[in-house]
C-alpha cells in the first residue's frame, strides 16, 4: 500500500491522515466517524463521534451517557482537516452509512456493512461514484446468494402458523439491533398480530418507532406463565438461546435469521429447528454489482472472505487488496 493512500489500516482502525479522523476505530481516538451502531463498529471511549442523523438515537443508546455525538444528515458535507466528508445510506440498518471522503480531486468511499436488498427499516443503499471503494466481504463466496426477503418473510409467517397450530410458541433468534426490527417490519405487511420481544430487542425497537418505522406491535416477554406464549412469535437475541430465560415459553420451536443459514452445516450445527436466510449484508452477486456500479478503479476489502474476493477481483482485472481490520463476521 502506497504512503499516498488517503485511508490506511492502523492498529486503532481505518485512519484518514489528511482528515485527522478514524472510521469505526476499535480503540479510543480523537475523532471517530461511525458507519453504524453495531458493537464491532461503534466502541466507547473516543473523544468525539460523527454519525448519520437517523442513527444518532441508536448510537446514543449504545454509548455512555453524554458521549459527544455530532449528527450529520445524509449528503450534508463537513470539512475535516483537508478533506470533505459526506455520509450516504448503506442499507445495512437504520442510520447506517457509507463514508465518502474527497481530497485533492480523489474520492474514497468506506462502505461499513451494507446490503442491496430492500429493507423497510432503513434507506436503500446509494451508489456513490468513487476512485477507491473500501468494502466489507462478510459473505464473499459465490454460495451466498440471498432469496428475496419478502419470500423469507412468508416462510417465517408459515412456520409461526404451523407451530401455533400445534399450540407451540415460535422463538425466533435475530440480532437485537437491525435484524429484529426488519423482521417486525417485513411481517407487518402480512399480519397485524402482536409479537413478544426480549428486553434487548424492545429497547432498540422503541428507537426505531421513534423514527417512524412501521412494524408489528411488540410486547415484553416478561410473564413467566407459559400459556401466555402458546401460538405466539417471540423475537430474541441469539445469546438468549439455551439460557434460563427460555424456560418461560413451554413447548416451543426455535429459528434463526442470518445469512449464515444459507449453508446446511451451519443450520444444523446451530441447533435451531429452522434457519431463515435473511441477511443485512451484501451477497456475492451484490458485492460484484456494487463494485461495478461504483466505478471504482481500486477495491480494498476489510473483513470476511477478503482473500477469496481479492483473488477473484484481480483475476477479473480489478486492482484489489485486503486491509487488516477487527470487524466481526457475526450476523
Amino acid at each position: 500500500m502506497s504512503s499516498a493512500d488517503l485511508i490506511t489500516a492502523t492498529s486503532r482502525g481505518l485512519y484518514c491522515a489528511a482528515g485527522g479522523f478514524y472510521i469505526d476505530p476499535w480503540q479510543p481516538v480523537e475523532h471517530a466517524v461511525i458507519t453504524h451502531a453495531h458493537g464491532d463498529h461503534l466502541r466507547a471511549g473516543s473523544a468525539g463521534y460523527i454519525t448519520a442523523l437517523p442513527g444518532v438515537g441508536l448510537a446514543a443508546q449504545r454509548l455512555p451517557a453524554g458521549a459527544p455525538l455530532v449528527p450529520l444528515a445524509y449528503g450534508e458535507a463537513i470539512d475535516l482537516g483537508k478533506t470533505r466528508v459526506t455520509l450516504h445510506p448503506a442499507g445495512h440498518i437504520l442510520g447506517s452509512s457509507q463514508v465518502r471522503i474527497e481530497h485533492g480531486g480523489e474520492v474514497w468511499v468506506v462502505s461499513g456493512d451494507y446490503k442491496r436488498d430492500r429493507d423497510p427499516t432503513c434507506e436503500p443503499f446509494e451508489i456513490v461514484p468513487c476512485d477507491v471503494f473500501i468494502s466489507e466481504a462478510t459473505f464473499a463466496l459465490p454460495a451466498y446468494r440471498w432469496p428475496p426477503p419478502g419470500m423469507v418473510a412468508v416462510e417465517i409467517l408459515e412456520w409461526w402458523r404451523a407451530n401455533a397450530k400445534r399450540g407451540e410458541a415460535s422463538v425466533l433468534f435475530a440480532y437485537a439491533l437491525g435484524k429484529a426490527q426488519r423482521i417486525l417490519a417485513e411481517l407487518a405487511a402480512l399480519t397485524d398480530e402482536t409479537v413478544f420481544v426480549h428486553g434487548a430487542v424492545a429497547a432498540i425497537t422503541d428507537v426505531y418507532r421513534g423514527r417512524g418505522i412501521v412494524m408489528l406491535p411488540d410486547a415484553a416477554a416478561s410473564s413467566s406463565d407459559s400459556s401466555q406464549y402458546s401460538g405466539a412469535l417471540i423475537l430474541a437475541p441469539p445469546g438468549a438461546a439455551g439460557s434460563p430465560w427460555m424456560k418461560r415459553f413451554g413447548e416451543h420451536r426455535t429459528g434463526f435469521c442470518s445469512g449464515w443459514m444459507r449453508v446446511r452445516g451451519d443450520r444444523r450445527r446451530g441447533g435451531y429447528d429452522r434457519g431463515f436466510v435473511l441477511s443485512d449484508h451484501a451477497d456475492w452477486p451484490a458485492l460484484l454489482r456494487t463494485f461495478r456500479e461504483s466505478g471504482a478503479r481500486r477495491i480494498l476489502l476489510t473483513h470476511g472472505h477478503t482473500d477469496t474476493l481479492c483473488r477473484y477481483l484481480r483475476e477479473q482485472g480489478t486492482d484489489a487488496a485486503a486491509l487488516h481490520t477487527e470487524y466481526g463476521s457475526g450476523e
Binding site: L141, R268, Y312
Partner: protein, 539 residues
Amino acid sequence: MQRFAELFESLDTTTSTRAKIGAMSAYFRVAEPSDAAWATYVLIGRRLKRSVGPALLRQWLREEAQLPEWLIEETYGSIGDLAETIALLVPNESTERALHADVSLTEWFNARILPLANQSVAERRQHIVNWWHELPYRECFLVNKLLTGSLRVGVSRSLVARALAECMDQPRVQIERALIGEWDPGAEFWRALSHNEGNLHVAQPYPFFLASPLEGGPGPLGGRDDWLAEWKWDGIRGQIVRRAGQCTLWSRGEEVITDRFPEIARAAAALADGCVLDGEVLAWEGGRVLPFARLQRRIGRSKLTPKILRDIPARFLAYDLLEVDGTDWRRQPLLERRARLATLLERTDSSVLGLSPEVAAPSWDALAALRAEARSRGVEGLMLKSWQSSYGTGRQRGAWWKWKIDPFVFDGVLLYAAPGHGRRSNLYTDYTFGVWLGDTLVPVAKAYSGLTDAEIRELDRWIRTHTREKFGIVRSVEPQQVFELAYEGIASSARHKSGIALRFPRIVRWRVDKVAAEADTLPALRQVLATQQADSHNV
C-alpha cells in the same frame, strides 16, 4: 418429491427422536405406496449403484457455474458437501417456490435416475445439468444426494422401523426383519410390509443383536453363574441362513458374502434344513485365529484363487441359534439356544463350523485374569451374555455386554484435515495424524471421532488459520497440534507409506500440554507390531 423434500427438511432440522419418528410416520401415512417404499429405502441408508461419479459432477459444475476452478474448490472446501455446493453454485432460474410440476419420488428413481446407468456420458450430462438448472434449491440438493450416495440425515434403520411400526400398527421387530437383506422398493414391497407378510424370501436373515460396552468391571452384573463368557472374536460378524436346501452367509453389513467363503458354505450344507446361526467369520490356521488384517486381504480380493484359499483358510465360530426346524427361536433363553446349537454342530462334524467356546472361570476375578491374556490370544476381550437373555434386535442395554481390553495409545501430530459429512459438513473434522521418522512426520492414522463439539469448533478455527497448503478440500496444516490416539491393533501394510496399518484409530484427547517434538515415533509403533507378532507365536 416435494413431499419427500419436506420430510427431509423436518428430519434435518431436529435432533429429537420423537419429532423424527412423528415426521416419518406422517409422511408414510399420506405417501403413495411406491413412494413410501423408495423413501424407506433411502432413509435406511440403502444406495443405488452409482451412475455418475463425483469427478464428473465436479467437471460439469465447473462448466455450469461459470466460475474459476479454484473458487469452486474453495467454496466446496467451505461447505464440505458436493451435493450442496452444486445446488448453491449452479445458476438457477426458479425461485425456491417455483411452480414447477412435481415429479414423484418413484418417477425420479424409475424414470430418471435408474435409466442414467444405460446412457452415454453426454446424455447423462444433459439430464443432470438440466435438473440443476430447473429444480429449486432444496430439491436440487436432494437429487444430487441421491445421485452421489446416501442421505445421512440422522435416522437409523431402527428409527425408520419404529416409524413404520407406528403407522402400520405392527411389531417393530417384524418390520426390522423385513427391512434387512435384499428387497425391491416398490408398491408390492409396501403392500407386503403393511399386511405383515413382510419380505420373507428364503434367505432372509434376522436383525443382529448387539452388545453394549461394559464400562468399569462386571461387578454390578451380579453372580458369575448367571452369565456366559465368550471371547470377543475379531472377525466378521455373520449369519448362516440354511433354508430350502440353500445356504446363505450374511455379513452384519447385510451383504451376502457366501461366495467369498466357499468352505463355510460347503460346511453349512451339512446343517439340518431350516436353521439360522449367528457367529463370526475368522481367518484360522493351526488351531488359532489369524489377525483381522489377514482376513481383510481375503475380502479385498476380486477373485479367490486356490492360493488365497490355502493361505488364508476361513472358519465360522457360532455364537447363537436363531432358528431351528423352521421355527424362530429368538425368544428362547440363551441357555436353551446354546445347548441346541452345540448338538446341531456336533452332528455336522466339521472343522470349519465350530462353537464359540465358553470361557471357563469360576469367579469374576478369574475371568478378569483371563481377559488380560486377550491380546496374546488374538481376541478383542470378552463377551458377557445373560444365560436367560433372548436374542433381541439392535443394541439393547442389559442382556449382552462387550468387555474389551484397553486399547493401545500413542501421541500423533495433526498433519492434514478435510471437512466432515452431514452435521459436520462445513467443519474440518476428518484428521490425518503422523509420527516421527527421523526429522520428518509420516502419516499413520486417520481419525474422525473423539473430540467434543467445542473442541471441534476450536480446532476448525485453528486449522483455517494455520493452513499450509490446500489440495482440493484437504488442507495441510502447520505440524503443531498433538493428540493422543487409541487403536485396537496394528498390522504391517505395503499400501501405506509408513508400512503399518492401525485398526480403529480414534482420538482420546487433545494434548494441548505437548509440543510436536514430543509425539511418538514410527520405530516405536513398529516395536508394538513386533511384540504383538512375537506374542501371538508364543501362546
